[in-house]
């Protein structure tokens, strides 16, 4: 058995620990060190109007995009698992598409439809809507990149629980909504929660697609990740590191929530 001898076991363990330390853990520790090296200027950059607005915008975008994708995700998963229709494979493929597309390409695709010169540009202009270089564009980009997460978490759970309880509820006279609310939703809740948490992490951290569609207008369409990049390139590195620390702490809390939901799902 590989790893049974002392030497090879220590070798493998040393490799795994060393790899994770050099690639992940030590660099991550360093951003905390760098942020608190010049903590005064770092905090004042972060709490400047532009810095605060960027973080506010990021939270706002996630608060719109994630609930929309959750409703879509649960509904779409129900359709995929509980009903039969032609084109199911196609819908499945489209839902996975965001995994295979570069964020920059996602931003460009949206720009070609929703900017003033895009496909819908004339119509949007005529009706006074502004999508690209404004909040709706950032929301669309965020919805695109987080599209698969809730669906992909809920589909296997729906397969696993089967539809016997739902049918029993139906036979006893429950309508569609009652069946969903009392039977289906409680059964899939941990799967939904897990999907929501990953989607939130991705939404808060999205960079490439938003960098293209937002126009990066300081104090207006700049999200937290774009603000961090801007700070860094303006040689205000302390502020950039402090912003990164805030996002990293959010990521760690999300990670803890993920592990919690995964355990609940397994039991």
């Amino acid at each position: 058995m590989l790893g049974s001898s002392r030497k090879s076991r220590w070798g493998l363990r040393g490799f795994a620990l060393g790899y994770l330390a050099l690639l992940l853990l030590v660099p991550l520790g360093m951003i905390f060190f760098r942020a608190f090296e010049h903590v005064g200027p770092a905090l004042s950059a972060l709490t400047s109007p532009d810095g605060l607005h960027a973080f506010y915008l990021t939270v706002l975008v996630a608060a719109i995009a994630v609930p929309l994708n959750t409703i879509f995700g649960v509904g779409c998963a129900l359709l995929l698992v509980r009903t039969e229709f032609r084109g199911k494979a196609l819908i499945n493929a489209i839902i996975d598409l965001p995994f295979a597309i570069s964020p920059v390409v996602i931003g460009l695709s949206l720009l070609l439809v929703y900017s003033q010169t895009g496909w819908f540009g004339d119509w949007l202009n005529a009706n006074g809507f502004r999508v690209a270089f404004a909040l709706p564009g950032i929301v669309l980009a965020t919805i695109f990149v987080t599209l698969p997460f809730v669906v992909r978490e809920v589909v296997p759970v729906l397969h696993e629980i089967g539809d016997e309880q739902e049918q029993a509820a139906r036979t006893l006279g429950a309508n569609w909504w009652q069946t969903f609310w009392r039977i289906t939703l409680p059964a899939i809740r941990w799967g939904v929660s897990y999907g929501v948490v990953i989607a939130t992490a991705r939404a808060l951290g999205e960079f490439g697609a938003v960098a293209v569609i937002s126009g990066r207008i300081v104090g207006q369409t700049q999200t937290a990740t774009i603000w961090i990049q801007q700070e860094f390139q303006n040689f205000d590195q302390a502020g950039a590191y402090m912003g990164a620390v805030v996002l990293a702490l959010i990521a760690v809390s999300i990670l803890i929530a993920m592990n919690l939901f995964k355990r609940k799902e397994a039991t």
Binding site: F15, G75, G205, A211
Partner: protein, 280 residues
């Protein structure tokens, strides 16, 4: 409105009980298709249409000019290098997390998913903090090819580990013990008994890592930069094209990048199926 509906239904023959439910499903399907169209399908159609806006020669020139061709090759090569490293490192990490015992293992297991939760721009800044120009350990990797590989390794870390780990947990120890007792060396046991069972999972994880690596952008911006003929990958080239207003060229490069990603995913999918048949 409601009375109009009531009028027509009273005139029509009684509906079967299942009809409202089918109507609900049809409405749901319509909504799903509408949502996917607004978010994904129409934008992708616009991308493909824009890429051919300047005709075939403009399309060809956008990807065959020296800078783009270099970036295209480097993107594929870097992604493949990252996949190969992930195959080895990911499998070893999964092995250690399943078979080894040491204090702090549970915490280490939780840390693996961190690159999924961490914003890509933070991933880049994180690497820059240790391996950047002010490196406290004297390693200056920023704006080099090594930086591209490191950033891609950072963001793809969880894929192979997380696909191999559950398979390894379910693996039957008896087969390995039997092979060992029949005189097989540890290496032979691994190659003949363990590896065939792990192969489908390794390939599935590799496909995800490749798809992620080939389109990666955020973690490269600050740490590797997009220096032509040095570190520039396709996503960076496309971004710069958009910035300079060359939307048709950027769209053509995007279409090629998307096609390459899908072709490789197809190849990985075929390999996974093939290895499943030979998993025994």
């Amino acid at each position: 409105m409601t009375s109009a509906v009531a009028d027509t239904s009273s005139a029509a023959p009684p509906r079967p009980a299942s009809l409202p439910r089918l109507g609900g499903a049809a409405l749901g399907r319509g909504l799903v298709v509408a949502y996917l169209s607004i978010i994904v399908l129409i934008p992708i159609a616009a991308l493909v249409a824009q890429s051919t806006d300047g005709g075939w020669s403009a399309f060809w020139n956008a990807i065959s000019n020296p800078e783009a061709w270099w970036a295209l090759k480097w993107t594929v090569i870097a992604s493949l290098i990252v996949v190969v490293i992930n195959v080895f490192a990911g499998t070893i990490i999964a092995w250690v997390l399943v078979r080894d015992k040491f204090p702090g293992k549970a915490a280490l297991n939780g840390v693996i998913d961190l690159p999924f939760a961490l914003p890509t721009i933070v991933a880049g800044i994180t690497l820059l903090a240790l391996y950047g120009p002010n490196s406290p350990i004297g390693i200056h990797a920023a704006y080099t090819k090594a930086a591209v590989i490191m950033a891609l390794l950072f963001v793809t870390l969880p894929f192979v580990v997380r696909t191999v780990q559950p398979v390894l947990m379910e693996l039957d120890l008896e087969m390995e013990e039997a092979a060992a007792s029949l005189g097989a060396s540890p290496f032979t046991t691994f190659r003949r008994i363990i590896l065939p069972s792990l192969m489908p999972a390794i390939l599935a994880g590799s496909a995800l890592a490749f798809a992620r690596a080939i389109g990666e952008f955020g973690s490269l911006v600050l740490f590797a930069g997009f220096i032509a003929f040095k570190t520039e990958v396709m996503s960076g080239l496309i971004y710069q094209g958009i910035g300079s207003g060359n939307l048709t060229g950027a769209a053509a490069q995007s279409v090629i990048l998307l096609v390459i990603a899908l072709v490789f995913l197809l190849i990985f999918g075929r390999l996974t199926k093939w290895s499943l048949r030979h998993a025994g």
